[in-house]
C-alpha cells in the first residue's frame, strides 16, 4: 500500500516540478536559463517514462534529447552571442493573445479528453510500475528492448521498417543541410 502511495506522490512531485520548469523556459528573460530549464523538463519527462515502465525510451530521451538537442541549443545561443542578452518582455497585447490561445487550447483538448472514454486495459487501470500482468495475460515481463529491435526491422504488416529507413534518410539530409546553411559562403565574403 505504501508502495502505491509513494508512486503517486512521486508522480505529483515530478509533475509539478516539470510544469514549473516548463514555465521558466517560456517565461524567463535570459535565454541561457531557459535552455537549462528545458533540460530539466526533458529529464522530468524521462522520469515519467520510467514510471510508465519504458526505461529504454527514458534512456533515449536523456541521451538524445537532453544531451544532443539542448547542448546544440546552448551552442547556438553562444554562436549568436545572445547568451547575456536580456530579451525584453513581449508586449502585453502579444502575451494576452498567447495566454488566451493556450488556455483556449487547453480547455478544448481537455473537453475532448473528457468526452471520450478511452478503452483503458483492465490490467493497468489502477496500478503503476507493474508491467507484470495479473492472471490471464502473459506472465513474464516484456523484454522491451528486444521487442523494439524486432519491431524496427520487421517488414511484416506490424513492422516499422519503412519509418526506420525514412528517419535515417531524414537525419542524413538534415546533417548535410545544416552544414550548408550554417557555413560561411566563400563568394559572399569577397563580394562585400
Amino acid at each position: 500500500m505504501w508502495n502505491e502511495a509513494a508512486g503517486t506522490f512521486v508522480f505529483y512531485l515530478i509533475a509539478f516540478f516539470s510544469i514549473f520548469t516548463a514555465l521558466t523556459v517560456v517565461y524567463t528573460r535570459r535565454i541561457l536559463r531557459a535552455a537549462i530549464a528545458l533540460a530539466c523538463v526533458l529529464v522530468c519527462s524521462a522520469g515519467f517514462y520510467v514510471m510508465l515502465d519504458f526505461e529504454f525510451l527514458a534512456g533515449v530521451q536523456v541521451m538524445v534529447y537532453v544531451g544532443g538537442i539542448v547542448v546544440l541549443m546552448l551552442f547556438a545561443i553562444m554562436l549568436t552571442s545572445s547568451a547575456e542578452l536580456i530579451v525584453d518582455r513581449p508586449s502585453f497585447q502579444r502575451r494576452f493573445v498567447g495566454v488566451l490561445i493556450s488556455i483556449g487550447f487547453f480547455f478544448v483538448t481537455t473537453t475532448a479528453f473528457w468526452a471520450t472514454d478511452f478503452p483503458v486495459a483492465e490490467s493497468t487501470k489502477d496500478t503503476l510500475f507493474t508491467k507484470v500482468s495479473i492472471e490471464g495475460e502473459k506472465a513474464e515481463p516484456l523484454d522491451d528492448v528486444v521487442e523494439l529491435g524486432k519491431k524496427l526491422l520487421d517488414y511484416g504488416p506490424e513492422g516499422y521498417v519503412l519509418p526506420f529507413e525514412i528517419i535515417s534518410l531524414l537525419l542524413l539530409s538534415v546533417m548535410i543541410g545544416g552544414i550548408i546553411i550554417a557555413r560561411k559562403p566563400p563568394q559572399l565574403e569577397n563580394k562585400e
Binding site: 490561445i101 483556449g104 478544448v108 483538448t109 473537453t111 475532448a112 468526452a115
Partner: protein, 664 residues
C-alpha cells in the same frame, strides 16, 4: 334629312387651318414672309365662310328643334373593345355659335396682324402659330367627345404658350409663357382626372345600358356616323346615363362621384378661363403681341372653359353642388377682377382684368341656370357671343394705340382723340357696348344674365352682378378718358398718327358687329332643357342696370376727364388700400413663393440631393465595403511567423470547439 354639302363634310372647318398650318409652317414660311401671312389669313377667311354656310344650312335643315348631329367622325385611339376615342365634328346650335365667333374673330385678327406685325422678324413663325391656334380652337369647339376636347384643349394651351412667348428674347415674355402653360397644365391635370372618372363610370354604365335596354343606345346612334362611345357628349349628357351616374356611390367620404368629376372638370375650365385661383397667368399673358391677346385672351381661348361647362351642362345640372361652385367662383372672380381693373395703369392689363370680369359673368350665369330655368345657359352663351366682338375690338383698338405711341402705359397717352379718329370712334363704341348702354350688344346679354340670376333666386349673385355692372363702365371709361381725352402727355402721344387701313378695317367691322350683335334673337337658337317662353327685355332689371352704368360713367368722367388733381387726392386718402389692389392682392407673389421657396427648395432639391447621396451612396457603399474588407484582411499578413501561428492555433481551437459542440 337632305345633307347639305358643308353639313356632310363639316370637318373642312377645322381642317383648313390645319392644312395651312403645315403648308405655311413647313414650306411657305422659309420662302417668303408676305406669302405666309396672306395664305394663313385667306385660309382662316375660307374657314369662316364655311362656318357661315354650315350655320345657314344647319338652320335650314333643322328649323324647329335643333338636333345635335355628328356628320363625320373616324376612330382615332382604341383603348379597349368598347372604349375608343374618335375624332369628329359635332354640329349643334352651341358649336355653330362658337364656330362662327371663333372664325370671325380669328380672321379679323389675322387681317389686323398683317398690319400690326409688319416688319417683325418672326413674321412667318407668328402666322404659323396663329393658324395652329385657330385649328386647335376649332377642333375644341367641334369635339363630339370629351377626349378630343382634351386633346385640342392641350393644343390650344401649347399654341398660346408659343404665341405668348413670341418675343422670346424678352425674359418677361418667356417667363409669362412658361407661367401660362404651367398654370393651365396644372388645371388640365384636374380636367384629365375628371375625364378618367367619367371614362371609368361611363364605361361601366355603357356596359349596363348595352346589355339592358338597347333602345337607349340605338336612339343615341341615330344621328352620328360611328357607334356611340362612353366618352361622347351625347352619351354623357343623356338623362338615362346621368341617372345611372348619380347613384354610383360616393368616394372618400360624402362627395358623390358625379360631383367630384364635375368639380375636377370645372378646375380644368377654371384654369383655361382664368377663374379666381388660377387667374394669375392672364394678366402676364399680355406680354404677347396685342393681336394675340385680342384673339386668344379675349375672344376665343379663355371662353373655352365656359364652352366646356356649357357642353356638359346637363351633367352639371344633375350634380347641383358643382353648379353652385361654378356660380360662386364666377361671381367672386367677376367682382375681384373688376376691382383690380380700376387701378391698373397698363392698358392691356386693364382689358385683361375686364376680360376676367366678363368671364366671371358668363360663369356665374351658367352657374345660376338649372334644367328647369335654363335662361342662364342662353344668357351666358349670348354674352360670350357679344363679348367676343367688343372685347376683340377693344384689344385691337388698344393695339393700334400702342402701335402708334409705342408704350402700354395709359398715362403716356392722352388727347389721341384728335390724332387717331377712327380708332377713337371704334374704341368709344366698344366701351359703350361693354358698359351695357341699351342700343349696344353688351346691354342685352348682361341684362339677360342679371334676369337669369334673379329668376333663379340667387339674390347675392344678382347683387354682385349689378355692382360689377357699375364698376365695368367706370374702369372702361377711365382708360377711355385718359387715353383719348386730355392733353398729349408725352411727345409719343404728340406724334401719334392713325394706323394703316389694313388695321382699321377689322376695327370697323368689329364695331358694326358690336352694335348689331345685341339684336340676334339668341333664345330661339341656343337653348337647353325647357324651351324658354319668348319674352322681351325685362325692364324691371334693365332700368337699375342702366342707371348704375350711367353713374359709373359719370364718376369716371368726374375723376378722369378733367384735370388730374382730383385723382391724386383720391389716391392719397385711399392710400394703402389702393396700393394693395394695384398689386393684384399679391397673389402672384404668393404663387411665386410657393413654387420657388417651397416646391423647389423643399421638394426637388432634397430629392436631387437624396438621389445623389443616399441612393447613389448606397451603390458606392457596396464598392467601398469590398475595398475596406480587403484592406482589413491585408492586416493579417504581417509577415511575422507568430501571427500566422496565432491565427492557425485560434482557428484550430474554434474548429474543435464547434466540433465539440455539434457532435455532442
Amino acid at each position: 334629312m337632305n345633307e347639305g354639302f358643308i353639313l356632310s363634310n363639316a370637318w373642312l372647318i377645322p381642317a383648313i387651318p390645319l392644312i395651312s398650318f403645315f403648308l405655311v409652317g413647313m414650306f411657305i414660311r422659309p420662302a417668303s414672309k408676305q406669302a405666309a401671312g396672306l395664305v394663313a389669313t385667306s385660309a382662316v377667311f375660307l374657314s369662316a365662310a364655311c362656318a357661315y354656310m354650315l350655320a345657314w344650312e344647319y338652320y335650314q335643315a333643322f328649323a324647329p328643334e335643333y338636333q345635335s348631329i355628328v356628320p363625320w367622325s373616324i376612330e382615332w385611339l382604341r383603348y379597349q373593345e368598347f372604349l375608343s376615342v374618335s375624332v369628329g365634328v359635332l354640329v349643334d346650335p352651341t358649336s355653330i355659335l362658337l364656330m362662327v365667333v371663333v372664325t370671325t374673330v380669328s380672321s379679323l385678327v389675322h387681317l389686323y396682324s398683317i398690319g400690326y406685325m409688319h416688319g417683325e422678324e418672326g413674321y412667318g413663325r407668328y402666322f404659323t402659330y396663329l393658324n395652329l391656334f385657330t385649328f386647335s380652337m376649332l377642333g375644341l369647339v367641334v369635339a363630339p367627345n370629351i377626349m378630343q376636347m382634351f386633346v385640342c384643349w392641350e393644343l390650344v394651351g401649347a399654341s398660346s404658350f408659343l404665341l405668348i412667348g413670341y418675343y422670346y428674347d424678352k425674359p418677361s415674355a418667356v417667363s409669362a409663357s412658361k407661367k401660362a402653360f404651367i398654370v393651365t397644365r396644372f388645371a388640365d391635370l384636374g380636367f384629365l382626372l375628371g375625364i378618367l372618372i367619367l371614362g371609368y363610370f361611363g364605361y361601366h354604365v355603357y356596359g349596363v345600358l348595352s346589355d339592358s335596354s338597347t333602345s337607349v343606345l340605338a336612339e343615341m346612334n341615330q344621328y352620328s356616323s360611328t357607334a356611340i362611345q362612353p366618352f361622347d357628349f351625347k352619351f354623357l349628357n343623356h338623362p338615362a346615363v346621368i341617372a345611372q351616374f348619380a347613384d354610383q356611390g360616393s368616394l372618400l367620404g360624402g362627395i358623390s362621384m358625379l360631383t367630384l368629376a364635375m368639380v375636377l372638370i370645372f378646375a380644368g375650365a377654371a384654369g383655361k378661363s382664368a377663374m379666381f385661383p388660377l387667374h394669375i397667368w392672364l394678366p402676364d399673358a399680355m406680354e404677347g403681341p396685342t393681336p394675340v391677346s385680342a384673339l386668344i385672351h379675349a375672344a376665343t381661348m379663355v371662353v373655352a372653359g365656359v364652352y366646356l361647362v356649357a357642353r356638359l351642362f346637363p351633367v352639371y345640372a344633375a350634380s347641383g353642388s358643382a353648379l353652385l361652385i361654378v356660380a360662386y367662383i364666377g361671381a367672386f372672380t367677376c367682382l375681384f377682377a373688376a376691382v383690380i381693373g380700376c387701378t391698373q395703369d397698363d392698358i392691356k392689363r386693364v382689358l385683361a382684368f375686364s376680360t376676367l370680369s366678363q368671364l366671371g359673368y358668363m360663369m356665374l350665369s351658367l352657374g345660376v341656370a338649372t334644367m328647369a330655368h335654363p335662361l342662364g345657359y342662353t344668357a351666358s352663351l349670348f354674352h360670350l357671343f357679344t363679348h367676343a366682338f367688343f372685347k376683340a375690338l377693344l384689344f385691337l383698338g388698344a393695339g393700334s394705340v400702342i402701335h402708334a405711341v409705342h408704350s402700354n402705359e395709359i398715362w403716356d397717352m392722352g388727347g389721341l382723340k384728335r390724332k387717331m379718329p377712327v380708332t377713337h370712334i371704334t374704341f368709344l363704341i366698344a366701351t359703350i357696348a361693354i358698359a351695357g348702354i341699351p342700343p349696344f350688344a353688351g346691354f342685352f346679354s348682361k341684362d339677360e344674365i342679371l334676369a337669369a340670376a334673379l329668376g333663379n333666386h340667387h339674390q347675392i349673385i344678382f347683387g354682385i352682378g349689378l355692382l360689377v355692372a357699375g364698376l365695368t363702365p367706370f374702369y372702361m371709361f377711365r382708360i377711355y378718358f385718359v387715353t383719348f381725352w386730355g392733353p398729349h402727355r408725352t411727345e409719343g402721344a404728340e406724334h401719334a398718327h392713325e394706323s394703316p387701313p389694313v388695321m382699321l378695317l377689322p376695327l370697323a367691322i368689329l364695331a358694326v358687329l358690336a352694335v348689331i350683335a345685341g339684336f340676334v334673337p339668341m333664345a330661339s337658337f341656343v337653348h337647353i332643357g325647357e324651351p324658354l317662353g319668348h319674352h322681351g327685355i325685362n325692364w324691371a332689371i334693365a332700368i337699375p342696370a342702366i342707371l348704375v352704368a350711367l353713374t359709373g360713367i359719370g364718376v369716371a368722367w368726374f375723376l378722369y376727364a378733367g384735370n388730374q388733381d382730383r385723382v391724386s387726392k383720391l389716391v392719397q386718402n385711399l392710400g394703402v388700400v389702393y396700393r394693395v389692389i394695384k398689386d393684384k392682392f399679391y397673389i402672384d407673389e404668393v404663387y411665386l413663393f410657393i413654387t420657388h421657396n417651397f416646391i423647389f427648395k423643399y421638394i426637388s432639391r432634397p430629392i436631387a440631393w437624396f438621389d445623389r447621396n443616399v441612393v447613389d451612396g448606397s451603390m458606392n457603399l457596396t464598392g467601398w465595403a469590398t475595398r475596406m474588407s480587403g484592406w482589413i484582411l491585408s492586416h493579417m499578413q504581417t509577415g511575422q511567423v507568430q501571427t500566422y501561428a496565432a491565427w492557425y492555433a485560434l482557428s484550430t481551437i474554434v474548429v474543435f470547439g464547434l466540433l465539440a459542440v455539434t457532435l455532442q
